[in-house]
Symmetry: C2
Subunit: 216 residues, 2 copies
DNA sequence: ACCTGAACACCGTTCAAGT
DNA sequence: ACCTGAACACCGTTCAAGT
């Protein structure tokens, strides 16, 4: 029943021998393409041409697998860029680039969140924010509050964004939501009915917070 | 093998006949006490003294069960109170009371979020916020941005709070996190090392946003 | 050291069958 | 109308056994 090669590695495909790193690679691919619900030990093993128990040898049980994948996401998605000259626009650029990176892989962010590693994911951005606010002359007590405030903003909008994507369909039209209130003017109703642009909302709130911190 | 009563209802316990409402009641109890991972159709049926397939008759499959439970949470956790005289403190009180209600059942909030019903959960608060900001003379375009900004703040801090609870232990002490940066003063390091109080952080950010909206 | 196969204890779900 | 039991196709995990 054995394939001819003898040492040809698992699955008869002749690739390199299985390793923790290769298992995590394959897990990452499943995670991105099929989502976390479809990431199973057995399916992962199948894709690698190996018995399910081989996974246990290289990475441990499912919890350890998810931890390993979260660690990869942290290394891969944590990087942020800084642009601009004045402190306000530099801080804004950090938060914006972090948000955009995270929005590229909402499934990956959800995994990190589930594993309780969000703090680690944010650490590079946190460092940069502290650096910029220090350079801008903001005092320590304010920095200690302002940095998590900005990061909260990012995670909040990213998690909600993900939600809106999955929401299959509006159950009520925006107008219906407000109709029976009575006290709204037509002008207000018009504004409330237009769906809010997520990017615009983020920029709006971020601008308020950063300006309040840097230019008190 | 049958119990003596004949029409004594399922499970031989003699209670009222099974209904959709009773199934959801039991599901709610499991959800709050054991968490969403332990909420299974079979376990639920077992607790009701009934075959697993009976659940399907009354509420449908697992997706329908979770939807039904989310709807209950929305009805039960959506209510908010308004306090204070001036517009700023009234708006702040709405956001604060919503946050505190949600923090009482983080598992329940997580379920609503998973089912994509966060918007419905927030609807009562949204209504009140629009009402208060209108009374405060804020224009429609600003209201349309400010209301979701405040709600984003709430959901962001609630979801992160939940995260911190589950995080088993700090992997690094706060000091270690910053040690190799060099550019921090001891005073800044002291502020960064103290863990941020969630409530203080929320009040801080909320205050900034609400004041910027109401007193521009 | 690395991997397989069988086995166990769970899931959700369907369906024919009972009353 | 309401409920059961058996069955199917999945899970994660353990463990003895192979090379």
């Amino acid at each position: 029943m054995a394939v001819g090669g003898g040492q040809a590695g698992p699955g008869g495909e002749g690739g390199p021998p299985l390793s923790r790193s290769l298992v995590l690679d394959a897990g990452m691919r499943i995670l991105e393409s099929e989502g976390i619900d479809r990431l199973t030990i057995r399916g992962l093993a199948g894709k690698l041409g190996v018995a399910a128990t081989a996974i246990y040898w290289h990475v441990g049980d499912k919890q350890a697998l998810l931890d390993g994948l979260a660690e990869r996401v942290i290394d891969q998605l944590g990087d942020v860029s800084v642009r601009g000259r004045d402190p306000v626009s530099r801080v804004v650029s950090i938060a914006t680039s972090l948000r955009e990176t995270l929005l590229e892989g909402p499934e990956l962010v959800a995994l990190v969140h589930r594993q309780g590693r969000t703090a680690a994911l944010f650490q590079p951005a946190r460092r940069l924010l502290v650096q910029e606010l220090t350079a801008a002359g903001v005092d320590g007590a304010t920095i200690a509050l302002a940095v998590p405030a900005v990061l909260n903003l990012v995670i909040g909008t990213v998690l909600l964004d993900r939600q809106l994507e999955r929401q299959p369909a509006q159950r009520q039209t925006p107008e219906e939501l407000w109709l029976d209130d009575g006290l709204q003017t037509p002008e207000l109703l018009r504004h409330l009915s237009r769906p809010v642009d997520d990017r615009e909302l983020f920029d709006y709130t971020l601008g308020i917070v950063v300006r309040a911190v840097v230019e008190p």
